[in-house]
């Protein structure tokens, strides 16, 4: 049963620290997404890639967030430096054809 995997599942860190979240998309899926979900803002698209190339990162705070796909089996989302307002659940999703996106279980980030 193919699924998107994310690590870590939970992360607690102090303000100012670097945070790296990882995602393994479903094998063969060429489109990968990063989302953030909070109670206040809901689910927001941060960035997405197709064939490892960034297509859109307009939802991502550029000064502290960065997203990459070093290879087809790994996507990373990095926050440096982290701030308390970054506390949220971060989801990765992947897709092979429109419209269905397959979401991972999420990384719950708490920045103190």
């Amino acid at each position: 049963d193919a699924r998107v995997t994310q690590t870590p599942r939970h992360k607690v860190t102090e303000m100012g620290q670097e945070v790296t979240m990882r995602c393994q998309p479903i094998l063969g899926h060429n489109t990968v997404f990063w989302y953030r979900q909070t109670m206040m803002q809901g689910l927001e698209l941060l960035a997405y890639f197709r064939n490892r190339a960034p297509l859109d990162d307009s939802g991502m705070p550029k000064d502290r967030f960065s997203a990459e796909m070093p290879d087809a089996t790994l996507a990373t989302l990095k926050i440096q430096p982290s701030e308390p307002r970054d506390s949220a659940v971060y989801f990765c999703a992947s897709a092979s054809s429109y419209p269905e996106q397959y979401f991972g279980p999420g990384t719950r980030l708490t920045v103190t």
Partner: protein
């Protein structure tokens, strides 16, 4: 920017009844409107897509309507079951390029 509103309150219904959820938007009519289900602690799961030129779409006990004049989509769960209890999210895609804008979601609880 697009504002998306879903039922402001949670929906509690008796098993066997039909649950009706609303999704209203304020500005442009999207090319596609999607519905997702999200269970606590999990990522959203794609349910249905409806195109702007379609009035209605069905999948098993689910029915979605799309009225571009009213700027509204209705999502129906017929013959509801306790297993249908979850949060349901609507998402708008303006151009069919995966760039989704999500509503806040409506939490449905089905009582046995």
């Amino acid at each position: 920017s697009q504002k998306i509103e879903q039922n402001s309150e949670a929906l509690n219904i008796q098993e066997g009844k039909t649950a009706t959820l609303t999704c209203n938007y304020t500005n442009y009519s999207p090319a596609y409107l999607q519905w997702y289900r999200q269970d606590p602690g999990r990522g959203p799961v794609f349910l249905l897509l409806i195109r702007e030129n379609e009035k209605e779409k069905r999948k098993e006990r689910l029915k979605v309507t799309f009225d571009t004049t009213l700027k509204q989509s209705l999502f129906h769960i017929t013959a509801s079951q306790p297993a249908d209890s979850a949060t349901y999210l609507c998402a708008l895609d303006e151009r069919g390029d995966y760039k989704l804008s999500f509503g806040a979601g409506t939490t449905v609880t089905v009582r046995a």
